[in-house]
Symmetry: C2
Subunit: 438 residues, 2 copies
């Protein structure tokens, strides 16, 4: 029995949320494995809430005035990676609790890396959280252009330029303030500057909060492919202030939900059931619903990553829907669809194929389609996609081994999946033809 399976959650239910009082990671989730498959086992992730008093009045005197807002106790997910373990703080108003960040600052110099969209919204707030009641700390910032197309070496060099021109030394801390692109670039810069400095993540999109927060993947794109240059590098902490979601565009919000839904499907049936009951609260940006969804997503990912930090097999199960989705992103062109939108359509295709193989009930197919539609996510690929487009991209997928494409497919009751190359190729063909006009 894992720690997560016995953790008691005591979030308030003031918004009529249906919140379970405990989680069951059912033994039946891990059945139905065939050869060449990866078995999923829950492991050492603990959830503690409430936590100890986080700041004394003496340490953060100026926060007293806004005490009613800042006294919210964060949910904490501990990511267990030995001496690289770190906490994820989740909650509303956490940027008004300076101690959460300040306890993880080493040295006296901080470099905040953000972009032109996020800086006007949150940079001042973050600088304040880093320095209030802490006059010894000085903060520099570098504001990068916004967008996946700037996730390159030229833009990364601007971070190094700023760090070096500011004469930062090894005891400085880099802070990533933004979505996945900023988190990946700032993390890789932190991994490489002076061969590694401290790093804190403040993700401001659902996608970054539920995906990039856990796993330590950092990096940049090469003109010939995404995320080809980078490092595995863990932060000192991740701070998720759910208030930052108030400024997130609707499509970005929904895109992140695609990953949330994925966690339920691959390994956590009760979480999926909770999502079905609370999808309206999530779409209405209810902060408590989001805090819970982010927490369970991070816990699920942390359990997987704790067992497979460097992605040797199990971690691949996090890519449900991503193989089909990646084909859509590559063929349709990045920027037309958001990542989560492509993943949503890809998930529907993976679920369809699982059903054709006779591995899941029809009811699961219907439930996946229904929840994605409620989340205003696509449930089929763009009309321009052809069978050949899918096949040509999938042929060079990282998960191809010895000419065999391994896929993440659902198998068994809700919340069970396999990572396998051992499936009837006819089912894949049928799925592709069912979703493509040609």
């Amino acid at each position: 029995m894992s720690a997560a399976a016995t953790a008691t959650v005591t979030l308030s239910t003031k918004h009529n949320l249906s919140l379970p009082t405990n989680h069951h990671i059912n033994k039946s989730n891990i059945g139905f494995l065939s050869e060449n498959s990866v078995r999923i086992r829950p492991l050492s992730v603990s959830c503690s809430r409430p936590v100890k008093v986080l700041a004394t009045a003496a340490e953060t005197p100026v926060m007293e005035a806004s005490k009613s807002k800042s006294s919210a106790v964060p949910t904490i997910v501990d990511v267990d990676l030995g001496d690289r373990s770190y906490p994820i703080y989740i909650g509303s108003g956490l940027l008004n609790q300076p101690d959460l960040l300040q306890r993880h600052i080493r040295g006296k110099r901080v470099l905040v890396v953000t972009n032109t969209t996020v800086a006007p919204l949150y940079l001042d707030k973050v600088v304040s959280a880093l320095t209030v009641g802490n006059p010894n700390v000085s903060v520099e910032s570098v504001i990068l252009p916004d967008g996946e197309k700037y996730k390159d070496m030229d833009t990364l060099m601007k971070v190094f330029d700023k760090a070096i021109e500011s004469r930062l030394d090894r005891r400085c801390t880099f802070v990533a303030l933004g979505g996945g692109v900023i988190g990946d670039m700032c993390g890789y810069a932190a991994a490489s500057f002076l061969r590694g400095v401290n790093f804190i993540q403040i993700p401001t999109t659902v996608m970054a909060q539920v995906d990039s927060s856990v796993g330590g993947k950092t990096g940049i794109n090469h003109r010939l492919g995404k995320n080809l240059i980078g490092a595995f590098y863990q932060p000192q902490c991740v701070l998720i202030d759910t208030d930052t979601l108030n400024t997130l565009p609707d499509r970005e919000l929904a895109s992140g939900l695609a990953e949330v839904i994925k966690y339920g499907l691959i390994r956590d049936a009760s979480f999926f059931e909770w999502q079905e009951k609370n999808i309206h609260a999530l779409m209405a940006r209810d902060p408590d619903a989001f805090a819970y969804a982010i927490k369970r997503s991070c816990e699920n990912k942390a359990e997987v990553v704790s067992q497979d930090e460097k992605e040797s097999g199990l971690r691949a199960t996090l890519n449900l829907g991503h193989t089909f989705g990646h084909a859509i992103e590559t063929s349709y062109g990045y920027g037309h669809w958001l990542h989560g939108e492509a993943v949503a359509a890809g998930t529907v295709m993976a679920v369809d194929m699982s059903y054709r193989l006779g591995w899941i009930d029809e009811s699961i197919v219907e439930r996946v389609n229904y929840i994605l539609k409620q989340a205003k996510l696509p449930t089929s690929p763009p009309e321009m996609m052809t069978v050949d487009m899918f096949k040509s991209v999938m042929a060079v997928d990282k998960k191809v081994a010895d000419g065999l494409l391994r896929l993440i497919l659902l198998k068994g009751p809700l919340g069970s999946c396999v990572f396998t190359g051992d499936y009837d190729k006819k089912a894949l063909d049928e799925t592709l033809h069912a979703f493509c006009k040609s």
Copy 2:
């Protein structure tokens, strides 16, 4: 008692070398420590020689013809870093023993990174060693321009370009063939490509063999400073074929000896005494003398790095002479003096200062000067250097902490040093004025 202290060395003495049969790391080496100093303790480095049979005829049939040359048994230094441990193979003709490299190749694809100077000399030989009797392995190569000024991001990108255009996957291996610049760049490329692939070093200069072989420091320069961007990343193995020294220019050879001499001075009196007896054999490029000098250097560095992989203090002692030397390199301009030449002059200055502090006998000052002169290394800085030049560069040294410059100085009997900021500043002033005209 460390493993090194009891290792028995059984090298042949056919060149009238004075080779000790065992090493003593004397307890007295670690005395004379003051506050703010770092204590040196020998640790788990083992030397095994002879080793098991390295290749069967069935595995490497084509090598039978050259058996007399290739059957030399390498000296092995094991660098003990837990799950990142690796062997250093040292000896003559090792590039004629394909199994040494092939046992460390993972996957079927190899990328050799080398430069325009080394490629014509050794690239074919290395490709042959990688592929002979091993038709499944395919080798790509990228040949970079030679020189410190190309140790930059633009040149590094050529390595990524080649790896990506060649569609290398995570199971490939990068091989660095060349001196320190190639080792540092290839290592950082390996650390970053797909977030980390396997890496083998084949250093071809004395400097790279005795310094870059151990420690895992990789990286590139920024226009504002050296080695500011990089990673700590350990190789799968290091292969040192002492035959490659036959093509090394005299100045490069002597430059590497400055680091060899340093190891004796900071922690290994018997090694320094061996150097005094064998400096003529080293200058005559005697392969057995070099094999021994490289082995003891690697063992000494490995002991230090095993205790302090990420350079938190002890590892700084490896920088004897480097603070003064760095001031020379920076003021005089990189490229005029080789790194080891600047280190030699810097070592003389550090030794002079240690004597002025009353920390060492005059005999040590004389012995250091004498051996460096025999190695045809400079024993004073270039005439253009002024006291102000030294002071301005030393003020921004990485080892300055809270305004105090910490230096590596000799203290006690031969082979003992301290890393300390606790010294009489007058001695530093006197040393600078003694070696500068103004």
